[in-house]
Symmetry: C3
Subunit: 189 residues, 3 copies
């Protein structure tokens, strides 16, 4: 990122052509229109956020597919340096359950509340099995003193599948711009 080649308008015309929104040519996914699929994806993300913010963490693992599940928090710094070292890494629903049990048992942290803002939800691509979805998140935290500040900002890279008529995360990668390791250990993002 320190050394970047200059760009000329002619180069960029090619880029612009590549930038057309290919998804708009897709009409359906699993028998549902792409627009309705967008609505369902946004519902999934809203319910996911409400689950964490309402401190109903016991329900959090159920947002993931039971047969194929991967949850990862990694800093953007590590991603850009090519160091795939995750702050959290779970590869089964059972590991997600364990994590919540640990959180509840070991909760020596002062009480705080989280508030997720998830925006710019973008279905990037679609195949027969799954959706690749990117979104921006900012999580705010409010401490006992009543002050609210920024806990973590970044993006979600999700792979979403259909199971028994419900959308579930087969993979959720949290790429955190913010890298304060202490806070990242408290709750799922």
């Amino acid at each position: 990122m320190e050394t970047v080649a200059a760009v000329t308008p002619s180069q960029s015309v090619a880029t612009a052509a590549m930038q057309n929104d290919e998804l708009l040519k897709q009409s359906t996914w699993q028998g549902v229109s792409v627009m309705e699929t967008q609505w369902r994806v946004e519902r999934l993300l809203s319910r996911y956020a409400a689950c964490i913010d309402d401190d109903a963490l016991e329900q959090w693992p159920a947002f993931f597919a039971s047969d194929a599940c991967r949850y990862e928090i990694i800093t953007r710094e590590n991603v850009e340096r090519g160091m795939p070292l995750a702050l959290m890494f779970c590869t089964s629903q059972g590991m997600l359950f364990d994590r919540i049990v640990s959180l509840r048992k070991a909760n020596i942290y002062p009480q705080r509340w989280y508030r997720h803002v998830i925006s710019n939800v973008l279905i990037q691509s679609v195949d027969e099995e799954s959706l690749a979805v990117q979104s921006s998140y900012v999580v705010f935290q409010t401490r006992r003193n009543g002050q609210t500040d920024i806990f973590s900002a970044g993006k979600y890279l999700d792979r979403i599948v259909m199971r028994d008529g419900e959308l579930k995360f087969a993979e959720k990668r949290v790429i955190a711009d913010t890298h304060r390791v202490d806070t990242l250990l408290v709750a799922p993002i």
Copy 2:
């Protein structure tokens, strides 16, 4: 929240079953598809936010139903302690008008601007008369010195009805994570 029972995977399977998205089985509300209803609810919230952020407060009461209106700001701390003591509580459109008049007359506060971010808009349930809708909000404020900070974060619990073809709030409960009482008295959230 200090003492929480551990959760086992078997318990959580039951939870997961309860967690299915029942709304998706509902196809219409008041003759309109649920997906279009979602769009209309989001328009209502966006127009509500723009009204406050553009300082058009005189129009703010018109977002509420004239025949059944309840507006309340309460801290999450009070909700969780079972103390239903509201920071603001209005039970008629007239009270909302009065509040704006007071604000305009008594405005001894330095000028500041608000910016609402409303996200994760979730229709929770639907009956013949009304929609129950939850959303996350974060309000930012910019002071005269040009600096922007967080004014209030929390959630809206809204009951929305249809009046003359327009959606209106029959009830709007603002559950504020942030509890700085001084700022809460300045403007509607």
Copy 3:
């Protein structure tokens, strides 16, 4: 804003009548339903945000119409004082390209990441040629030390047109509540 006439309920009834959501009476734009148009506008904004946040700035000009393009950053303070002095003002796609080239060449600033939250996307009016769309934005920045703070909050006033089946910005006005001039010079908002 310092001197404001009091408002009475009777005045406000007129205001409320004007406040009806006229867009809902519109059924299509350029042969597409207004609801689907909303979805496409939100995709445009989400892709625009991802372009900047992923530091793919070379693609940024392609979000604008090549035949009619205007990009402007102006503070809300200046707008309200009637001083139309923009912090940035580009009137062609070529000027947008030039800006990115300058940014890349002159990048003496420490590396930072941006994260856009765009919400409350509101199609305000529609004519045969274009859409007028207002939205709220908050841009967060994360510095090398890993701390995230608020970079800029404000609103977008966009005029959006259709070119070769894709939505493009014919005009994008960034009205910034925040007015820290130093930061505004670093990257597009």
